[in-house]
Amino acid sequence: MDIWLGYLTLILQGALVTAQLTALGCLFALAMAFLAGLGRVSAVAPVRWLAAAYVEFFRGTSIFVQLFWAYYVLPLMGLELSPMQAGVLALGLNVGAYGAEVVRGAVEAIGREQREACVALNLTRAQSLRHVILPQAVVVMLPTFGNNAIELLKATAIVSLVSLADMTFQAQVVRSQTGSTAFPFLTILVLYFLMSSVITLLVRALERRMSRGFEGTRA
């Protein structure tokens, strides 16, 4: 029994790494999403192209490949990253590319009418974006961002394949030390589900808070 408790602690240590990866990855992805998403609706054509290239590249190649690149190839080019940094970089860049499309879509979904009202009130582009478009767009983005965060959480499992001691990896360790397969894997399945439920609940709470002012205008 003590043994299992000990190995459970080991898995929980992995869970901490997973949580950390998820949190940092989400922050980085969020930053990239806004940077590239707003880049895609920029008035400056080269900025649009750059943002589009980023999005297509990182959505186009598998995250698996990106992670292996960040982990094994970047150091050969002289950029040394800790496994955690490589993980956060790959996850953030990948999910950020998907998030950028969400940002762009939401900004475009805040229709022509709102943008025209801004022109009629003589707001500059930056003012319209900051005071009118983004506050509404963020509410539209939130649910999809929540889903993206869960996708990121799930993607952290593959860092185990580059030997970062996350939850899945620790489960593998426990498995080879104890010979039991069901215990570690069922444990981490439950833990992953708990984590994704936490994300779902957080996003819902945030959604409720942010849309409160709208009083049900966008159902």
Binding site: V119, L121, N122, T124, R125, Q136, F214, E215, T217
Partner: protein, 261 residues
């Protein structure tokens, strides 16, 4: 007659193949109340959108207060206007939309204050005071802190009018401001506009399908068809004795459609 505040000279607007405005020219005097009427698709909205710089003309010149709207002088030449020029010109013009286009995430008062604070550098307290005056004028001071979603259509449209007025434009554009409203709510908005027309010397351009209102409101009526002015004149003349067949047919249809109680 004083110098015109708005001049269109041979203005055309094409969307791809479709010619929406066809070498159109007309002038508006300062303080004039002008109604634009005509069948659907005749280009009425497009004229207002051009004046608000929401569209760019394909051809021709638009002058506002003697200055070109879409061009600026560089040395001797006229070049397309940059964003700064447009920004300066837009300050003179306000527009009220068919679907109100209020900002749903801002309260009524914030909707009205936002632009003065951001574009004219008004102090928030001053902007709020002025907003309350305007809301009072449109009969909505009690709703200053409500959110747009809590208002009826007629109330929303009155807020939209107050919002446009907050920037003190010299020209106001109204595009079918009552056509999205329930019939019972139309009156309250038209009352506000009547009052504006009487009590200010703003120049107003009005697109509407409410012939009765156009008649009472306007100094002059332009009847459009297919991007051209078919007939113009004082409302009495246009509505009672239209000279053109096209105008007569249009008015007959509108009347037949049931607006006759």
């Amino acid at each position: 007659m004083s110098a015109p505040i708005i001049q269109l000279q041979d203005v055309s607007k094409r969307f791809g193949e479709l010619t929406v405005l066809d070498r159109l020219s007309f002038e508006v005097a300062p303080g004039e109340k002008l109604a634009l009427i005509g069948p659907s698709g005749s280009g009425k909205t497009t004229i207002l959108r051009l004046l608000m710089t929401l569209e760019t003309p394909t051809d021709g010149m638009v002058m506002v207060e003697g200055e070109p709207l879409f061009h600026q002088r560089r040395g001797d030449a006229l070049v397309p206007a940059d964003e700064r020029h447009l920004h300066r010109m837009r300050a003179r013009i306000g527009m009220v939309f068919q679907h109100f286009n209020l900002f749903p995430h801002k309260s009524v008062c914030e909707n009205v204050c936002l632009a003065p604070v951001l574009t004219q550098g008004a102090k928030p307290a001053d902007a709020r005071r002025r907003a309350m005056e305007l809301l009072d004028m449109v009969g909505l001071s009690a709703k200053a802190d409500a959110m747009p979603a809590q208002l009826s259509g007629g109330q929303k449209q009155r807020v939209a009018i107050a919002r446009a007025l907050a920037l003190s434009p010299r020209i106001m554009l109204f595009d079918e401001v009552t056509s999205a409203l329930d019939p019972e709510l139309v009156e309250e908005v038209l009352n506000v506009m009547h009052m504006l027309a009487r009590e200010t010397d703003m120049t107003m351009l009005l697109v509407t399908h409410e012939m009765g209102f156009a008649h009472d409101f306007a100094d002059r009526v332009l009847f459009f068809d297919r991007g051209r002015i078919v007939e113009e004149g004082p409302p009495d003349e246009i509505f009672k004795n239209p000279r053109q067949d096209r105008t007569q047919a249009f008015l007959r249809k509108v009347v037949a459609a049931g607006h006759r109680v």
